[in-house]
Symmetry: C2
Subunit: 466 residues, 2 copies
């Protein structure tokens, strides 16, 4: 009874799906993927090459030829042949490797879709791999993480998860809890008042161990969040204090137009960099100044919204000028936990009165000459890393979804533990119910238990073609 | 003596090259290509999979496994094995198909480059295919055209060229001219005054036929130019006359911010669309108004520069308001051959005096309601198509490089023909020289004659990885 039931058919659909699997844009090669029962018949209809037609080719081979449709050649291609169940999806699969750019792959895809195939939904190839039992949900999610990875460390962590890093942890958690739950269920068969006390103690102790393991897994969330989502660092400050210069200096290139004309940066500018393996999205904002220009006022409203959501907030002031009341008030409102105050233009002297400030991380800089730049990067990385130990070897980390699952499961086990501690036979049945609920929750991590809505949520985040 | 000499070694280098061959960005799959003598030994060093190592695999097969370097897994991949001379480059080639996104392919490429390979130069795989004699220069150039193609027709024309469409025409031209030149050279052996007149007549007539064939090829340039480079259509007009509305209407989406505040479009906005197979780059410009804002003045200067270079110029006026002198003068300056004047806001009445205008294509529009949109597209396509017959089946067309070659060859043949018409034995030797120069020029089209500089010019336009 603890083996989760699949609430949706586990078999793959009978439909054949196709999509372009490479990124759009200019490149030498693009790949179209076709998976499903009609993959080889479609290939036979479109492929012109020497030797046997695709349907008579062996798994693990490829052939050179051209794609021909309606009396027109569409491209010269390599065609790869994979037989189910030895393909990614577990189904018959054909890959067409043609020329890159925007036209060839689209022309071929259209010809495929005119035959017995439909366009794949986002992540549908990977969903089929899951439904065929080739990978679990954690591994499927790792595919997306790997594609999305914005740093080496994030890619390495995703690969660890794809190779089963998290699956093993969740499976161990699940299996250990099954043993606890089964032991507890067994107590229900004891005649009243004859349950030996050591037996229940053992169950309590095993349950505590499961809880500890779950908490250890939970602790990987912070690093996982940083690696997956990256951190957002917002740069703010008055017009002309050097915000765009800071952005360019951090990126090491000229991205923002730097000029002495206040209000040059009207829209927010976003760029990415990697600090000690953490992808960071840098947002350079419109200068904070009182203005009657409608477009600029909108920009300043957006700046405030960005600051509120940021992981890091870098506020820049020109320390060579006195601070007026508006700016003084702004500094008082900075959140010490996530703000860095840059005292820029120190080379021009210090005229700003900084007495009475909250306990902020401050760095003296002269951005125009690069002074203070390394200090800024160091403090940023330090504040972002938080509890995550980024010096360790990259390892699989849990995502927001896994965190919810673990929190829900922990809640249930805690309620069960509470009931068992309180004692009394009447607590046994509800404790069993809580452990079953915990298992139900944990089962959703690997996909041992799943429902259509869960799959839809997970796979809709994928790109089409994976 | 008429067989062009290769002025550079025709053999491929001994170096092994590698590059990412798919477009950057988010996608399911990326491909790393390795070509050269060390391709298989590098594959052996990095590939972990079941069965034989890559170097013992057969041509035309692929294997599933993982890339492992310095004790770290880098990705799960398919590896394709191609043995020279049956590969694209004619050399031993290994392709690694890994996960898409920014990290995996780069990690794998770095691992490959740490071994016995260097990063490929742009187009170097295709250059090696040419040097190995697998394709000629016209076909190599078609690969680039195919990747760059921005419309179906452009892709089809490029494929025709890749499959030898132009190669055959240029080869015929070359071979026919060789016959003419050889016949002419033979006349030098005749004793003085004994050259039979019909013999020279025949040479003249054959030469005229070659010239006609060259001119027929030359006539494909206009279409080729439109298909390869696309046309540039610049939208201009006063602030607020509806330029951005026109852009959005042509594109069928909201790309430009449309607002009633003059000067909303500060930078030029570029978008692409396809009109009857011709890719068109639409440039929406800053509103032409007198302003003291420095940034806007710069925008207006840029508008003028864009207009001067454009294939098409769409000038929009608000016909519901009278035209002032500045605008009147602007209309007088419009170039009738490439300008379309839109009389917008006709639904609000006509207050503009349009008497005394030059003979311009004008279209009455109410862009806000879509009135006149189809007429605009029709007139644009008509003016762009010019002499090109876009209703024909797509076919290979010459590029700017081929045009220069044909023009140079034609020049030489015309000089030879002139000498032959003038008559006299003393004309024969210089006529031969001109025909040899014409052959030298024509030989550069297919690459029968080439030099390093020519190859550099051609292949430097490619992306890395092709």
């Amino acid at each position: 009874m603890f083996n989760g039931d699949k609430t949706s058919e586990g078999t793959n659909g009978e439909e054949t799906i196709a999509a372009i699997a490479t990124a759009p844009g200019e490149g030498g090669i693009s790949v179209i993927r076709i998976s499903g029962p009609a993959a080889f018949s479609i290939a036979d209809a479109l492929f012109i090459g020497q030797g046997a037609p695709p349907s008579q080719r062996r798994h693990g081979t490829f052939a050179f030829g051209r794609i021909r449709d309606q009396d027109h050649d569409l491209d010269e291609v390599l065609m790869l042949f994979m037989r189910g169940p030895r393909s990614y999806t577990g189904e018959d699969t054909v890959e067409i490797q043609g020329h890159g750019g925007s036209q060839c792959a689209r022309r071929i895809l259209r010809a495929v879709l005119r035959r017995n195939a439909r366009l794949a939904e986002p992540g549908e190839f990977t969903k089929r791999a899951f439904l065929a039992g080739r990978i679990d949900l954690l591994q499927a999610e790792a595919v997306l993480d790997l594609i999305r990875a914005r740093s080496e460390r994030a890619a390495a962590a995703a690969l660890d998860q794809m190779e089963g890093g998290l699956s093993a942890s969740f499976a161990a958690l699940y299996d250990d809890l099954v043993v606890v739950a089964a032991s507890l269920e067994a107590t229900l068969d004891f005649p009243e008042d004859e349950l030996p006390a050591p037996y229940l103690d053992e169950i309590r102790s095993s349950l505590a161990k499961v809880q500890q393991a779950a908490e250890a897994l939970l602790a990987t969330w912070e690093e996982g969040h940083l690696l997956r989502d990256g951190a957002v660092a917002v740069i703010s400050g008055r017009a002309n204090v050097g915000k765009s210069t800071l952005l360019n200096a951090l990126l090491g290139k000229d991205r923002a137009i730097v000029s002495a004309m206040p209000g040059t940066t009207r829209d927010t500018i976003e760029e990415s960099l990697v600090l000690q393996g953490i992808p960071v999205r840098l947002v350079d904002t419109a200068g904070l100044r009182e203005t009657d220009c409608e477009v600029e006022q909108e920009g300043i409203r957006r700046t405030q919204a960005h600051i509120e959501k940021a992981d890091l907030h870098i506020h820049v002031i020109d320390v060579s000028h006195p601070l007026d009341e508006v700016e003084q008030a702004r500094l008082q409102r900075l959140d010490p936990k996530r703000s860095i105050l840059l005292l820029n233009k120190v080379d021009l002297g210090r005229a700003a009165d900084l007495s009475g400030l909250p306990a902020l991380r401050t760095i003296e800089t002269s951005l125009i000459s690069g002074q203070g730049l390394e200090a800024i990067k160091g403090v940023m990385a330090e504040m972002l890393a938080g509890h995550a130990d980024l010096s360790s070897r990259p390892h699989a980390t849990i995502s927001e979804r896994h965190r919810s699952i673990l929190l829900a499961a922990l809640d249930e086990t805690r309620m069960a533990a509470g009931l068992l501690s309180a004692g009394g036979d009447e607590a046994l049945v509800p404790a069993c119910t809580h452990l079953r609920a915990a298992l139900e929750s944990l089962g959703q991590a690997t996909g041992r238990v799943y429902h259509d809505e869960l799959l839809k949520t997970i796979f809709s985040q994928f790109c089409i073609g994976k």
